[in-house]
């Protein structure tokens, strides 16, 4: 087992001052929606924290998540947080391969049993016993079951790991599912997005390192601090929505004026993520800012929710055939009800006529009264 130096020492080694760490802590506190007063405490615990073991498995995925998370524009402190993590196993990044790699994994899992974080990108195929995605002759399902058992918590990174993502899109040939469908006993943090925002993973790690626990989650298992509001609520184009100013095509005057993309299918109103505030590429931009509506990629089943270019309040138009059918059914039932009412009325009339005849007898049928004088 390697000697564990603290993050403080490590940062000092990189020439990063305590002041800079404090600044980062303040930023982290803000992004986690913690009061600013917590920042020194965060800095303190971070600099004193020991390296946390992290085992990272890639399942049925495109590696886009990893690309996003390791993409480096200008290395900042949050980058270095990764250096503090003891990334004990990551197939794509690690130098070891083959049997050596397997050995690393087994050792890391054994040495840190019960303490390591298990990060996963990619969904888990379950069809035919899970044979659609295997590493070293073992199915993802098996690996997940075994490694989750010894993990302190599981991080489902990306929409595929969180909710099944694109592999789960209809018709879902591999019966792909998200991590939460298979792991029931361990705390899971979903960090959805296709790909997810790197800062969100950093934030979750900071939270874990600082407080020793996972951040507060919403009903879909996402950190509330980042997924508490919709893109729509934070969008800089929101005032145009409220004023009813919409772009109607991607090259009309509204689009040039930067008006709301709602009508062009923006899923901002139903998508919870931090894109509009944290943005991408070092806070440069995000899809709506570059003129395209939000796809809703961090929401469950986003691929199966109809066209990206169909606006939220509209579907594919009314199902006229079905409406016509419903009207025909209504006419049928209503007609039957009217027919039944006619029959019961006729029965009443017969009954009344019978009584009437009993009362009035033969006089009813013969005219006894002659013409007047």
């Amino acid at each position: 087992m390697k000697p564990r130096d603290t993050l403080g020492q490590k940062l000092a080694g990189y020439g990063i001052s305590r002041r800079a760490l404090l600044k980062f802590a303040a930023a982290a506190a803000t992004s986690l929606a913690l009061p600013p007063g917590v920042a020194p405490a965060i800095a303190e615990s971070l600099s004193g924290a020991r390296r946390q073991s992290l085992i990272w498995l890639s399942f049925q995925d495109c590696t886009g998540c990893l690309e996003s998370l390791t993409r480096s524009d200008a290395p900042g402190i949050e980058r270095l947080i990764f250096d503090f993590i003891s990334l004990d196993y990551q197939e794509t990044l690690m130098a070891a391969a083959g049997a050596a790699a397997d050995e690393t994994l087994v050792r890391a899992a054994r040495d840190n049993h019960g303490k390591y974080l298990l990060a996963i990108d990619g969904s888990v195929p379950t069809a035919e016993g899970g044979v659609h995605s295997m590493v070293g002759g073992r199915t993802n399902m098996d690996m997940l079951a075994e490694l989750a058992e010894g993990a302190a918590a599981v991080l489902a990174i990306g929409t595929c790991a969180a909710y099944g993502g694109i592999p789960k899109a209809a018709p879902n040939p591999t019966s792909a599912v998200g991590i939460a469908d298979l792991v029931k006993e361990k705390p899971i943090v979903n960090i959805p997005g296709c790909p997810p925002i790197p800062e969100v993973l950093t934030g979750v790690l900071v939270n874990f390192l600082t407080f020793g626990r996972l951040p507060d989650l919403d009903d879909l298992g996402r950190p509330l601090a980042y997924f508490g509001t919709t893109i729509h609520d934070q969008c800089y184009r929101r005032p145009y929505y409220d004023q009813g100013k919409f772009a109607h095509s991607f090259d009309d005057e509204g689009a040039r004026q930067g008006w709301c993309l709602f009508e062009l299918g923006c899923k901002g109103p139903t998508t919870r993520n931090a894109c509009a505030s944290l943005k991408w590429n070092g806070g440069t931009s995000f899809p709506i800012q570059s003129g395209h509506g939000c796809l809703g990629c961090s929401e469950p089943d986003f691929w199966d929710k109809g066209s990206f270019y169909t606006s939220l309040s509209g579907g594919e138009g009314p199902p006229w055939d079905a409406v016509g059918g419903a009207a025909a059914v209504g006419l049928g039932i209503g007609g039957a009800a009217a027919f039944a009412a006619r029959r019961s009325r006729a029965a009443v009339d017969r009954q009344l006529a019978k009584e009437w005849q009993r009362d009035h007898g033969a006089t009813a049928t013969s005219k006894t009264e002659e013409d007047g004088p």
């Binding site: 009412a341 009443v348 017969r350 009362d359 007047g372």
Partner: protein, 458 residues
């Protein structure tokens, strides 16, 4: 004729073998059977119109504000649409589009006979079927029409205020008039009126272009009105005759809810007028008999009527237009208080002829001070729809009459002109019970007194 409902069956003629009184007989029916009979009676002449009314009610309560009984008492039970509540429920359960659900899930409680008995007061004592509620209803529900149907149900269940209204209807089935006066007595009474008022009377002539009908109330209480009818018809030079075989227009059966009786009375009059080749049938100054004959008789007998049906004031207005009726203006009353006019609901609101009596009054040169609510908006006197015939309802009737009394007083007029025998009676009673001194005059009587008889004085 089995399989034919009584309302469609050829009816027995008045004067034929006395009919059994359903009212008395139905008293003996078991409660259950009577309840069923009530609901049957209600739904059996339901068509799309009445069904739409049933579906359309919003429970907005505006009809209460249009009803003299609610307005004057403030008792919510007099809300017009509430008066047919048990029957609404029966409709939902038996006939409505969702009837199977209502039955299967017991969504509407079955009405008990006791409840229905409680409803007798609401349907008979406190509804004039004046249609004011029908006019205010935002859903266009003709509540007056529904009350008439509900009364059919009440009659079938033997729940007519039997001591009075039912007995009258029973007599009417036998003789054609609610007082049970025989044809010969009617004939004698008419001729006697002619003699005592010095007017030429035509009774039972085989051919007549104009057949007037009267209310039997007139025979007893206002014989002068019958004389006035004769005098006016003589004046305009019509070929006319009373017909003792189709004489009484009251149709108490209609207000009682007895469809058989209603049909008998209607058919007798239609037959009598048809037999003598009438061109015009004049309905007396009486409310519901007019709407029945004018708008329903053709449907009752199953063909368009071969003559026109006119209210007396319509006939007078027509004669004025044709120049056959020449009137001297009335001498203004010395105090100069003028007169006011009470619109009979059935003529004004229900038939749209508010103009006819006003044309006649204009010809008489009357100083007319209109009531605050007049024409189609007029308040009912409170006696219509058979309510005037129910003794126990008199205190309630007087209460409902208060609104009319106030409006009459507000005009400052010394006399109320009415053009309906029922209204006339209600006004006289109402003013008497309230100790007022406002006079009540009949439009017809007034006209008969102002005829320009080619130099002769009448």
């Amino acid at each position: 004729m089995s399989g034919m409902p009584p309302s469609l069956a050829p009816a027995a003629k008045p004067g034929a073998k006395p009919a059994t009184r359903r009212v008395a007989e139905s008293r003996d029916q078991a409660d259950r059977a009577r309840l069923d009979a009530a609901m049957r009676g209600f739904i059996s002449d339901f068509g799309p119109e009445a069904a739409v009314y049933m579906e359309a009610c919003l429970h907005c309560g505006q009809c209460a504000e249009a009803c003299q009984f609610y307005v004057e008492t403030g008792d919510p039970k007099y809300t017009p649409i509430w008066k047919i509540e048990p029957f609404k429920q029966a409709y939902s359960r038996e006939m409505g589009p969702f009837a199977p659900f209502f039955r299967a899930f017991g969504l509407t409680p079955k009405v008990t006979l006791g409840e229905l008995e409680g409803w007798q007061e609401l349907l008979y004592d406190s509804c004039n079927m004046c249609g004011r509620c029908s006019l205010v209803c935002p859903a266009g529900i003709d509540i007056a029409d529904l009350v008439e149907k509900a009364r059919h149900g009440m009659f079938e269940a033997g729940l007519v205020p039997g001591d009075y209204l039912g007995a009258l209807a029973g007599k009417e089935q036998e003789t054609g008039n609610p007082f049970g006066i025989s044809r010969e007595d009617v004939r004698r009474a008419l001729l006697e009126i002619g003699r005592s008022h010095g007017v030429e009377m035509h009774v039972d002539e085989p051919r007549a272009a104009v057949v007037p009908t009267v209310s039997s109330i007139d025979l007893k209480m206002y014989p002068a009105s019958i004389a006035a009818t004769a005098r006016v018809l003589n004046h305009v030079g019509a070929s006319w005759s009373f017909r003792t075989d189709g004489f009484d227009a009251d149709n108490v059966s209609l207000t009682a809810g007895d469809r058989t009786g209603q049909r008998l009375v209607t058919e007798a009059i239609v037959d009598a007028a048809t037999r003598c080749g009438a061109e015009v049938l004049i309905m007396p100054e009486c409310g519901h008999s007019y709407t029945e004959m004018r708008w329903e008789a053709a449907n009752t007998v199953g063909h368009a009527l071969p003559f026109r049906v006119l209210h007396m004031s319509e006939y007078l207005a027509e004669c004025l237009d044709a120049g056959r009726l020449k009137l001297r203006p009335v001498t203004p009353d010395p105090e100069g208080r003028g007169v006011t006019f009470h619109d009979p609901c059935q003529l004004s609101r229900r038939s749209g002829r508010s103009d006819a009596p006003r044309k006649v009054m204009a010809a008489l040169g009357l100083d007319l001070h209109e009531l605050a609510d007049h024409g189609a908006d007029s308040w009912c006197c409170g006696g219509g729809g058979g309510v005037a015939l129910i003794n126990r309802a008199r205190p309630l009737r007087d209460k409902a009459f208060a609104i009319k009394r106030r409006q009459v007083a507000d005009t400052g007029a010394g006399t109320v002109i009415v053009s309906c025998t029922g209204c006339r009676q209600t006004f006289e009673h109402g003013f008497k019970d309230a100790g007022g001194e406002t006079g009540v005059g009949s439009l017809l009587d007034l006209v008969a007194g102002q005829l320009e008889e080619d130099g002769k004085t009448p």
